[in-house]
Assembly symmetry: none
Homo-oligomer: 238 residues x 4
């Protein structure tokens, strides 16, 4: 454990990214790192490769980042910043919930599949790897921030009565995000570009019917069935 002396600096590895030049260098490295990580995944990506594409030496990368993992965290964070901003920028606040959901579905697919879908695979796969726990821990809050608008939409929908309230919010989120992730994986696996718009429209429609509040009679009947099932259970076990 070299350098175990006294109070070394926690944040930057060696150089303070104060100047404009330095900041630009950091941006370059992050951009190149994104390309390599997206293309190869975390484990197969090497700092050597990143440095080569950057036209710099490996040491330069380590001048700005403490290591491969930190760079990857930064790359993912950077990407989330970007897509979160893009998501929010176009959010149709004025439109009805269903339109907002459709916007989210649309935007989500488009953003995650943009630029070769490499980042999608990186985030969805390595972000959960047990081998790199810190990565997962770093991704979680970013993802939460990214889905915050959706959660807000669902929550307000429940309050307003347009979205079903018989299901906890978290499950609603899974109901929306889960199928989308499936589609994303299929797209990534098939390696060929899919019709994002078409898929998004179809998915949006389906998801809405899945989470929308049912008609009043249907809702009442569902409640009736639930109570009946419960009563039967009680009678059977009591």
């Amino acid at each position: 454990m070299p350098g175990a002396g006294a109070s070394r600096r926690a944040a930057p590895p060696r150089r303070a990214p104060a100047s404009a030049k330095s900041a630009q260098r950091v941006r370059d490295i992050v951009r190149t790192g994104r390309a390599v990580f997206a293309e190869l995944g975390y484990e197969r990506a090497t700092v050597t490769e990143i440095a080569q594409r950057l036209g710099a030496s490996e040491a330069t990368v380590f001048t700005y980042f403490r290591g491969k993992r930190e760079l990857c965290v930064r790359v993912i964070g950077d990407w989330y910043d970007e897509i979160t901003a893009a998501l929010l920028q176009g959010w149709p606040h004025a439109r009805p919930p269903r339109a907002q959901l459709e916007y989210f579905v649309h935007a989500h697919l488009r953003l995650f599949l943009g630029h070769g879908s490499g980042m999608c695979a990186l985030v969805l796969s390595e972000g959960r790897d047990k081998g790199v726990a810190e990565l997962g821990a770093a991704v979680l809050p970013l993802h939460r921030r990214y889905t915050a608008a959706l959660m807000d939409l669902l929550s307000r929908g429940q309050t307003a009565g347009t979205i079903r309230s018989d299901v906890p919010l978290r499950l609603l989120r899974s109901l929306v995000m889960g199928p989308m992730e499936q589609m994303l994986w299929e797209a990534v696996a098939s390696q060929k570009p899919i019709d994002v718009d078409g898929a998004a429209t179809a998915l949006g429609a389906v998801l809405w019917t899945a989470i929308a509040a049912p008609g009043s009679e249907l809702a009442a009947l569902r409640r009736l069935r639930g109570r009946l099932a419960q009563a039967l259970d009680d009678a059977a076990s009591g």
Copy 2:
């Protein structure tokens, strides 16, 4: 019927697994490999670790498997054989579609989270890693076989009119599998055992409403209400 899955094992590893002793050796390696891969993930698992737990030398592993990747494919295949068999064995063919769906949800969560959820993480995460493309390619048909019964159920449901037909079959599958995968990830990430039964029941109900044919549910519920009222009447007057 373990090992019967598809046409894996295209070329024999190095020598033909002819004798019974050899077959037993293969089984032992696969079992040990499953433990190690489940515990550490693909990248962090080492052949050395597997050999050590096996009480054999690394070379022995390579006597029966062409390499780490092939062993992992075999481990996953073996596991899919197991859970697919378990899934089918208890399948309630005689019961109505909704019950079958609920069975599937239940069984799926239970099987994927069984024995420490390590295999769940392995399959869901590394199985999609771009770094090990062959792994993903090998997992896909296994997963298809695993979900075949569900697809069949959905397909027949559409034909019978109990499941909505306004959505292509593949999307329906995503609608079912996606939310479940979300739950699995949450369970894996939280590291603590969850109430599988409770979650399965809740999820089953929600998923059914999401995929059921709208009209059919309403009609079925109305019938239920009618029969219930009749029964009450009979009881009162009898």
Copy 3:
């Protein structure tokens, strides 16, 4: 008079330290370097660390010193200048040899263990490292200068007859310095402050009896024994 020691600094580092400002800069670097080298030892100390504590850039250090090694040599030289001056300043020239020896023992321990004993370890350990041969070569004359007063004392003692003359001067020095170095190492290794005064007093007494001239009869007898042993040897081998 720091820096006056011997003929160090054969070639100017890079630019002539002409101005007063420059001289001050050199002093600052040497002071900071002493702290870092003392704390971490030669190998583990880094120019980066020194520059950071200095609040300057690494390049600045190289502006004034040809490299890490040269800086370290200078740091050690500076330190020797200091302790040599301190040693001589309080030297009790007027008092008898034994008192002078005791003063030396006292002062030596105090000086070498002062300020955390880091310099003690640096000089005793790294100063002899073969990996940094130049360091050892640079330290030797400094150490000689430091012990010059002791040598003088011993020499005059021999002449005066108060210190045994049956032992060459160099061996006498080892007889004095050796045990002290042992004590210093024990102190450094144990990491805890020792009772310097007590140890010095005890050591001083012992060392004096070890180097003091014996009574005349004892001395004569020792000479007799020596000649006898020599004669026996000659007879045996001749």
Copy 4:
């Protein structure tokens, strides 16, 4: 009894050194490692160099040793085993204390300066390095074991009255070992072979007078003189 050094090698790195071949390989690596560490010191020695001289790959070294540090500890331990055994093997238990001391001085110089004196510098210098704390910690008990016979000698001498009792045992040891270490350093620094026998004889004599009980020496010498005179008389008259 080489190899008897405590329970080092807590867990082998990867391969169990069970077989004879393996044990031989370990011996070869340790021998080569000794040469390289002795020649270059700990920091400047590289595993690459060791492997090259061994005619093997670096990986082979790491197969048998967890790392550079562990190998160095083993090298030093091995060396101490050797010199401790050699020291004890020739120990003149039957002879008087002074002869034993002279034997020790002789043997110590010879052993530490044997084979190029590289190990001497390694042990004396790096063994105390703060940078490699584990090394120092590993060397200490070995050195204690090495000096155990000396300590025993001193202790018994005090009890018997032949060695001065006005000084604690530990200080006595410093009084003996310290000057010897000084001589060793001078020998190492000068890079040229010294007259070990001559130096040892001189040093032995001096050290004895430094630690012997004052009265006892005088008495012994008087007896010697008496017997010598008697012998001369006899020879003259006979």
